[in-house]
C-alpha cells in the first residue's frame, strides 16, 4: 500500500540542506523516530549520500580534451555520411534502372527471335565490320532510338532522385 507522510517534504528539505539532525526542530526528530516512512527516507538518504561521497573521490578516466576531439570527429563523420547518402541513393537507383533496362532489352530481343548463339558463331571480323558500318549507316530505327532514350531516362532519374533526397 502506498502511504505518504505529511512531514516527508520537510524531512527531505532538511536532508538536502544538510540541517538533519542537529538543525531540525525536536518535534521533527521525534516524528522521524516514530514514522516508518520518514525513518526509511532518512536512513536511505544518509546511506546513499555517504556512498556518493565515497564514490566521487575516484577520478573518472579519460580527459575532457580527448572527449571533445573524439566528439568533433564523430560529428564530422556523421555530416560526411549525411552528405554522401543522397549520392549513394541516386547511384543505387541508377544501377537498378540500368539493370531493368538491360533485362527488358534482352527479353525483347529474345522475343524478336534473334538467334544470339548462331549470330555469335557466325561472327567474323569482316562480318563484324560490315555489321557495325551497316548498322551505323542504316540504323535500325527502333534500337537506335530506344537504347539512348532509356539511357537518358536512367541518367535523368538518378539526377532527379539525387536532387530530391538532397533537398529533403
Amino acid at each position: 500500500m502506498l502511504r505518504s507522510c505529511a512531514y516527508e517534504k520537510e524531512v527531505m528539505e532538511a536532508l538536502k540542506a544538510g540541517h538533519w539532525p542537529e538543525g531540525c526542530a525536536p518535534e521533527l526528530r521525534a516524528h522521524v523516530e516514530s514514522c516508518a516512512t520518514c525513518s526509511d527516507f532518512v536512513l536511505l538518504t544518509q546511506a546513499f549520500q555517504s556512498a556518493k561521497s565515497e564514490s566521487v573521490q575516484e577520478a573518472p578516466t579519460g580527459s575532457p580534451g580527448l572527449l571533445w576531439w573524439r566528439a568533433q570527429l564523430r560529428r564530422r563523420n556523421a555530416v560526411t555520411e549525411r552528405v554522401s547518402r543522397p549520392i549513394t541513393i541516386a547511384q543505387t537507383f541508377a544501377w537498378i534502372v540500368t539493370s531493368v533496362v538491360g533485362v527488358i532489352l534482352i527479353a525483347s530481343q529474345y522475343g524478336d527471335r534473334v538467334r544470339w548463339a548462331s549470330w555469335w558463331a557466325g561472327l567474323e571480323p569482316a562480318k563484324l565490320l560490315h555489321f557495325l558500318s551497316g548498322s551505323l549507316v542504316k540504323p535500325d530505327g527502333n534500337l537506335l532510338l530506344i537504347i539512348p532514350g532509356l539511357g537518358v531516362l536512367a541518367l535523368l532519374s538518378g539526377i532527379v532522385v539525387y536532387l530530391a533526397s538532397e533537398k529533403s
Binding site: L2, Q49, S55, P60, T61, P64, L67, R74, R75
Partner: protein, 194 residues
C-alpha cells in the same frame, strides 16, 4: 582551399564547413566543456559504478555518455538540464547494455542473477550500502540512486528513466521499503558480536 578545385577537396571543405557550423552552435567551447566535465563526471561515474557494479563498464559508459551528449542537440536551460540529460543518456546506455547482454528487459532480470555476477558487494565491503544494493533489481538501484544520492524529484527521474511519474512514485516507494529492510538487517548483523 579554392572552390573551383576539381578534386574531392571541395566536398571535404564543404563537409568541414558544415561540421564547423554545428560546432559553433554548441552552447560551450572546449574549455567550458572541460569545466563542466570536471564538475559532472564524478557524479555520473558514481551512478554508473553503483548501478552496474562494474568499474570498467562504468568508465566506458561515462565516456560514451559524454560523446553522445556532445554530438546531440543540447537541451535548453543550462548546466542543471545538461546534467539531467547526461544521466538520461547514461541510463539508456546502461539499459541497452543489459538488453544486449541478457537479451531480456532490465525489469525482468532477477536480482539474484545479477547480484551473483556483478561486483557490487566488492565495491565497498565495509560500507553498508554495497551488500544491500547487490540484492536490489538494477532498475530499483537506478531509481534509489537518482532519488537519494542525486536528489532528483519524481518528475525528473521520470524524465531520466523514461518511465511515468506515477509509476516512479510507486516503484520508488516499494524499492525504498525493501532497501530500508535490507539496510536494517545488515546493520543488525554488523552489530551482532562475532
Amino acid at each position: 582551399m579554392r572552390k573551383d578545385d576539381t578534386t574531392g577537396e571541395y566536398v571535404i571543405a564543404n563537409v568541414e564547413a558544415r561540421a564547423a557550423l554545428r560546432a559553433d552552435e554548441l552552447p560551450m567551447d572546449s574549455d567550458a566543456f572541460a569545466g563542466f566535465y570536471q564538475r559532472s563526471a564524478p557524479a555520473l561515474r558514481a551512478y554508473l559504478v553503483r548501478v552496474s557494479g562494474n568499474h570498467a563498464l562504468a568508465d566506458d559508459l561515462t565516456q560514451e555518455s559524454y560523446l553522445r551528449f556532445l554530438c546531440a542537440t543540447w537541451p535548453e536551460g543550462g548546466e542543471v538540464n545538461y546534467r539531467r540529460y547526461l544521466f538520461r543518456i547514461a541510463t539508456n546506455l546502461l539499459r541497452d547494455h543489459w538488453k544486449r547482454r541478457k537479451e531480456t528487459y532490465l525489469e525482468d532480470v532477477p536480482e539474484a542473477f545479477l547480484a551473483a555476477r556483478d561486483t557490487l558487494t566488492d565495491l565497498d565491503s565495509h560500507s553498508l550500502l554495497g551488500p544491500a544494493m547487490a540484492q536490489m533489481r538494477p532498475r530499483d538501484r537506478q531509481l534509489l540512486w537518482l532519488a537519494h544520492a542525486e536528489g532528483y524529484s519524481h518528475r525528473e527521474i521520470a524524465e531520466i528513466t523514461g518511465l511515468g511519474a506515477a509509476s516512479i512514485r510507486l516503484l520508488l516507494f516499494r524499492a525504498r521499503h525493501k532497501m530500508a529492510r535490507l539496510l536494517r538487517k545488515q546493520m543488525a548483523t554488523d552489530r551482532r558480536p562475532a
